[in-house]
């Protein structure tokens, strides 16, 4: 192995591309390996890219980046079997864009191109099959039957991370800590999208649904507007699918047919169907993130925040990619890629919003496992709203009387207080 790289990065998602880009820009010899025929071809996200991390990597953000629409309307909707109640944060006409919708096949491809332009070698259509280990130290990868050596390997290979697992790191995925997302991309003309979602030309909406209108399973739905399409999907815990004996695709179909969703996607043409897992166990499922000669970044290290409102993984993936690049840079100066040297990566993350958010929301995963969230509460909120707006010729009740009436048979007052306290603590 004479043609040894400074760093081999496995996976050209946001974590791997960030790390590879920053290292290539520093002049390191970088190989980014991606199994898809182009970066993004194996990937799916809701997807809204939140937060400012990308602007730290690309100062001219959001220029020259294939983003779909800046999100000027964030909506959280409680969905019962037949009705819906929404919280609608509308920032139309202001400069406040907390996020952009993206499509991964375009976004990741662009990102990998930046790596190439910065001098990194990007090998797409190449599956990393194994790690090369010498005395328990990672010294390279095996891909296409060939060994390729490197001072350090960054496993940025996503939720199923076979690379991290081969090194004895990696997440222990189990039905209770992983959610399955299934999604359709539905084509519609831009003006129709803007009309239906009540946004200005070029702007977009992100609608999150608590409850998917069926069966009270642990899951939620989403609608995101792209330039010329809508991303529609449901995300459901694997355990919930098993327990309720339900297929995600049936939930997606009934979600699409819900009276509050159907008019928004009417007459659109489905052009793609995708599925992906997302780690949802939060801080508790995070593994060790380094060993001799290797770092783990992004979903491979379960750095995703699931709060019930939304899934956020891309900015954590990029932030961990940044920390990994910085760690490698410093390890190179020291000439030391041992675990003792690389462990600085974990410290860096612990000090950043990545661990802080995940730590802060540590109890969210447990809280979100509460079945009342997906049936009783959406039903309750929708029932309440309907009653409050109802004019039926009967003497009007005060709001609290309505609340007590709607609670009856759904949630006891004690459960409501308990869940309220848990929500305050967890999400």
């Amino acid at each position: 192995m004479d043609d040894k790289f400074d760093a081999i990065i496995v996976g050209a998602g946001p974590a791997g591309c960030t790390a590879a880009y920053l290292l290539a820009k520093e002049g390191l010899e970088v190989l980014l390996v991606e199994r898809g025929n182009y970066a993004g071809s194996k990937n799916m996200t809701g997807g809204v890219l939140y937060g400012p991390v990308l602007s730290r990597v690309f100062p001219d953000f959001p220029l020259n980046i294939p983003l779909e629409r800046p999100i000027s309307r964030h909506v959280l909707t409680f969905l019962s079997a037949s009705s819906a109640v929404s919280l609608d944060a509308n920032a139309a006409g202001t400069e406040i864009h907390n996020g952009y919708s993206i499509l991964r096949a375009k976004f990741d491809r662009w990102f990998a191109k930046q790596v190439e332009d910065a001098g990194g070698i990007v090998a797409t259509g190449l599956l990393a099959e194994d790690l090369v280990m010498v005395d328990n130290r990672v010294t390279g990868i095996v891909a296409g039957g060939d060994e390729m050596g490197a001072e350090v390997v960054i496993a940025a290979d996503g939720v199923n991370s076979l690379m991290a697992q081969k090194a004895g790191l990696g997440v222990r995925l189990a039905p209770h800590n992983v959610n399955q997302g299934v999604k359709e991309v539905i084509k519609l003309p831009p003006e129709v999208i803007e009309d239906r979602f009540n946004v200005a030309p070029g702007e977009g909406a992100a609608v999150h649904y608590l409850g998917i209108g069926t069966e009270g399973v642990h899951g939620g739905g989403f609608l995101y507007t792209n330039k010329e399409s809508i991303s529609v999907g449901v995300v459901v815990q694997l355990k919930a699918l098993m327990e309720h004996n339900l297929r995600a695709i049936d939930l997606l179909e009934s979600f699409k047919g819900h009276p509050a969703v159907k008019p928004l996607i009417k007459s659109g043409t489905t052009v793609e169907y995708s599925a992906h897992l997302v780690p949802a166990g939060g801080r508790d499922m995070m593994p060790r993130l380094c060993t001799d000669g290797m770092l783990v970044a992004g979903d491979a290290g379960a750095m995703v925040l699931a709060t019930g409102r939304a899934l956020e993984g891309i900015n954590y993936a990029m932030a961990s990619g940044m920390a990994a690049a910085e760690t490698v840079k410093q390890a190179r100066q020291k000439g030391d890629y041992s675990r003792q040297s690389l462990v600085q990566y974990e410290a860096m993350l612990a000090d950043s919003f990545v661990f802080k958010d995940l730590e802060n929301f540590r109890s969210a995963a447990g809280f979100l496992d509460n079945p009342r969230l997906y049936r009783a509460y959406p039903d309750l909120v929708c029932g309440l709203a309907n009653k409050i707006f109802e004019v039926d010729g009967q003497p009007k009740k005060k709001v609290w009387q309505v609340v007590r009436g709607e609670l009856k048979g759904r949630v006891s007052l004690w459960q409501l207080i308990k869940d309220g306290l848990a929500a305050r603590k967890s999400v």
Partner: protein, 89 residues
Amino acid sequence: MNMEERLALNKYDVDNQAHIRLEDGKCRECSHKACLIICPAECFKLREGTVSFAYEGCLECGSCRVVCNEGGLDWSYPRSGFGVSYEYG
């Protein structure tokens, strides 16, 4: 839209060999057969008391790998260059 039509929307480079393999004995005895409902591409089918598998429409999500605790599944990604390619994602 049935599953076949749904998967036909996607682009695939289908390999001539399967990237996921089942062990018939294990599947026959498996009490939950959770792969049947968990696979978003419906690659698993119940046939004569055991489970048969068609890899062609696989979306490479890994769900079957997570729910199969009976050791009936030998899971990997498709070989380099094969499998699904999303154009939107």
